[in-house]
Symmetry: C2
Subunit: 244 residues, 2 copies
């Protein structure tokens, strides 16, 4: 059976303006891979209501799961929760279960539950809360859309919580060979192997370090025997080019 | 007049599978910002023909420019040129001007112009070539879609060539203040300033280093006087929280 599929929607001006670098995509990709969920698409949009609504609605219809990151904090530019509610046509307001979590957190730390903090208790309709073991304010899942924070430490904590309740598939098996050559020299024999193993993903990736350059052949799939068989065939075909 | 808008489409399995980290988005965002082009969206898709075609067609209708990176090398998994041609309904084949460039490059280096290398001379219809000062094989622009390599060094060279021929807009002016607080404490006064300066982008970004945590307020826009005025107002409103 095919693995579940997923997309990620990264929300916020700061990455698209070049001010900061994305720090969540790679972590999500690795975690989903280990969980047997195929990450098929990533989108980055600005803090613009219509853009978030449009992307959420396209992605949730195309893939089994949508993970969003960013825009669920206390300030005026945190508009993700409202946009996701709008995408589903769901009501949104301060929900008692989320409010209780924030109240307890504030009480423990001697903080005031002001309007900014209360904004983080706005949860749409019958969404399921996602636990935040770092700073309490929860994420939520509405249908197949999982709404999480953008701050990497909080994102990771929320993702770990969420993945416990999502059934995974078969983890990808991956094998790679480093070859002392350039891509142009191996394109034809590699295409022959890729044709024969059309059920696997076979890619070639040039690399360059200070001391040498070469090409990594990467063979991936969920059927371990097929992956190992393709690897053996590639090792034979490229035996004279194999790097140590 | 509003700045031109742009999207980037990053093509390839390697980032979505978690094997490698994206290395081009931040560079593109910074370069476009300096050129006065607003980067509005980024998408990452796999090496799947239909996904690339669909994304190219959506993005080219939504934004003034689309920059693609990845999938224009010599191997079987390099399918970007064909997919972009299909998105436009354009013919594609080895084009003489591109072939000449590769022939000369191979002659200079004593290499054979084999089928793999010739694949990189496949250029759709009447596309304009984009120069590659690193490894010769050109990118191309078809309509408002600019097709470039994924290898960072080559991507940067192609982007520099392309931006010379794209009219820019007004570069963004950006000012920031670091505050010794958390977002929840400044949400309300910041929202008041953001309302007053609705023509600017005003965002808040929590940060955390080994020694302290705080929030950066970032104010951006193309009208320098307005940006400086909003900054002055924020400095006044948050004077007691300003970090050194």
């Amino acid at each position: 059976m095919a693995n579940p599929t997923a997309a990620v929607l990264v929300i916020g001006d700061e990455i698209l303006s070049g001010r900061t670098r994305d720090a969540n995509l790679n972590h999500l990709a690795v975690q989903l891979g280990e969980h047997g969920i195929d990450l098929e698409e990533a989108r980055f949009v600005r803090d613009v209501h219509e853009q978030i609504v449009g992307a959420v609605n396209e992605l949730r219809k195309s893939w089994d799961h949508v993970f969003t990151t960013g825009g669920i904090g206390p300030t005026h530019d945190d508009i993700t929760a409202d946009a996701v509610a709008a995408a589903f046509g769901a009501e949104i307001g301060v929900r008692e279960d989320a409010r209780s979590i924030l109240e307890e957190h504030c009480r423990n730390l001697g903080l005031e539950l002001n309007d900014g903090r209360l904004r983080m208790a706005r949860i749409p309709g019958d969404a399921l809360l996602i636990a935040n073991s770092v700073s309490a304010a929860p994420g939520f899942s509405l249908g197949n859309v999982h709404v999480m924070a953008g701050v990497p430490k909080i994102f990771r904590a929320m993702l770990a919580d969420k993945l416990r309740s999502i059934p995974g598939g078969s983890p990808q098996i991956s094998r790679s060979l480093d070859l002392n050559t350039v891509e142009s020299e191996l394109a034809e024999p590699l295409a022959t192997i890729a044709d024969e193993y059309a059920d696997l993903q076979i890619g070639s990736y040039p690399f360059r370090t200070e001391f040498r350059r070469g090409v990594s052949i990467v063979i991936k799939g969920t059927d371990k025997e097929r992956v190992l068989s393709a690897e053996a065939e590639a090792r034979l075909a490229f035996s004279e080019l194999l790097a140590d």
